[in-house]
């Protein structure tokens, strides 16, 4: 895989089918799917639970706005990922171009996906810091690899935003 920045987009080329599939999984991975821990992480409490009125108002007025914000980001990313559609079974490498103006949406969707995967798998801080674990193994190992791969992309986009 090669990743480089251009004036108005980031280009990820030489994407092998495995990494292309992981990218395709971003929108689905960002969904809590009704898993309470993931839902609670994306929509965390704004205050101590004793602040019942504040927390209740937050659920009514702020959470829907946050849901729309997160959904809008994943929809933008899903649209960009359509470049990878077609010939999913082909072993040929792919190229993905992320428009610079979509950088914030990508940061958000990647972050949502990382947080949801971590919450669903209940990863420990030690596991999350283990960047050398092989992705070949359990489903849990694959999820950890997914978090690290998405984190790598986030780092690159952040560097791009920082000039």
């Amino acid at each position: 895989m090669e990743i480089c920045r251009h004036k108005d987009h980031i280009e990820i080329s030489e994407l092998d089918p495995f990494l292309a599939e992981l990218l395709r999984q971003i929108p689905a991975s960002a969904s809590p799917d009704g898993v309470l821990a993931a839902e609670q992480r994306l929509f965390s409490s704004p205050a101590n639970r004793k602040e019942t009125e504040l927390c209740a108002e937050w659920k009514v007025y702020v959470e829907p706005e946050l849901r729309r914000l997160f959904q809008s980001a994943t929809e933008t990313v899903a649209a960009d990922l359509e470049q990878l559609n077609g010939n999913e079974k082909s072993l040929a490498n792919r190229t993905l171009r992320i428009p610079a103006k979509h950088a914030d949406a990508w940061l958000s969707a990647l972050n949502q996906a990382r947080l949801v995967i971590a919450a669903k798998n209940n990863f420990t801080e030690g596991e999350l810091g283990d960047h050398l674990r092989s992705p070949i193994g359990s489903r849990r190992d694959l999820s950890l690899f997914q978090i690290n791969f998405y984190g790598f992309l986030q780092e690159f986009i952040l560097r791009d935003l920082g000039g």
Partner: protein, 123 residues
């Protein structure tokens, strides 16, 4: 994220009880009359400062958290990094303190960036 005022959340710090009628002169020169508000809140609600606290989270990248602090609070990179490191090493950092309404808006923005942030009353 939108900084438009919401109903309910965020309105309280603005809604001190007013006495008498308020006259408002608009750009066209016409005067409108606002009835006195009847909603009252205790002095404690209005005057007590609140603080915005960000809590540690092993998933969010350090560089991402620094960028968010720069964007949300307008902090220079060095100050944003100091707070990020405080979150990382001490488990939390107080990013801002002041009136409740802007504090709520900051927490809302931080949640929009998926950081673990809370609003706490300074006692």
């Amino acid at each position: 994220m939108s900084r438009e005022p919401r109903r309910g959340v965020g309105c309280r710090a603005q809604s001190k009880e007013t006495e008498g009628t308020t006259h408002i002169l608009d750009e066209t020169g016409s005067v409108t009359t606002a009835e006195p508000t009847t909603e009252t809140h205790s002095e404690e609600d209005i005057d007590l400062p609140w603080q915005v606290v960000v809590h540690n989270d092993p998933v969010n990248l350090m560089s991402y958290v620094t960028m968010v602090f720069q964007r949300v609070f307008g902090y220079p990179r060095e100050k944003a990094e100091r707070h990020m490191l405080e979150v990382h090493h001490k488990g939390h950092s107080v990013l801002w303190a002041g009136m409740r309404e802007p504090a709520e808006l900051y927490v809302q923005q931080l949640h929009g960036y998926l950081l673990l942030a809370t609003l706490e009353k300074i006692s």
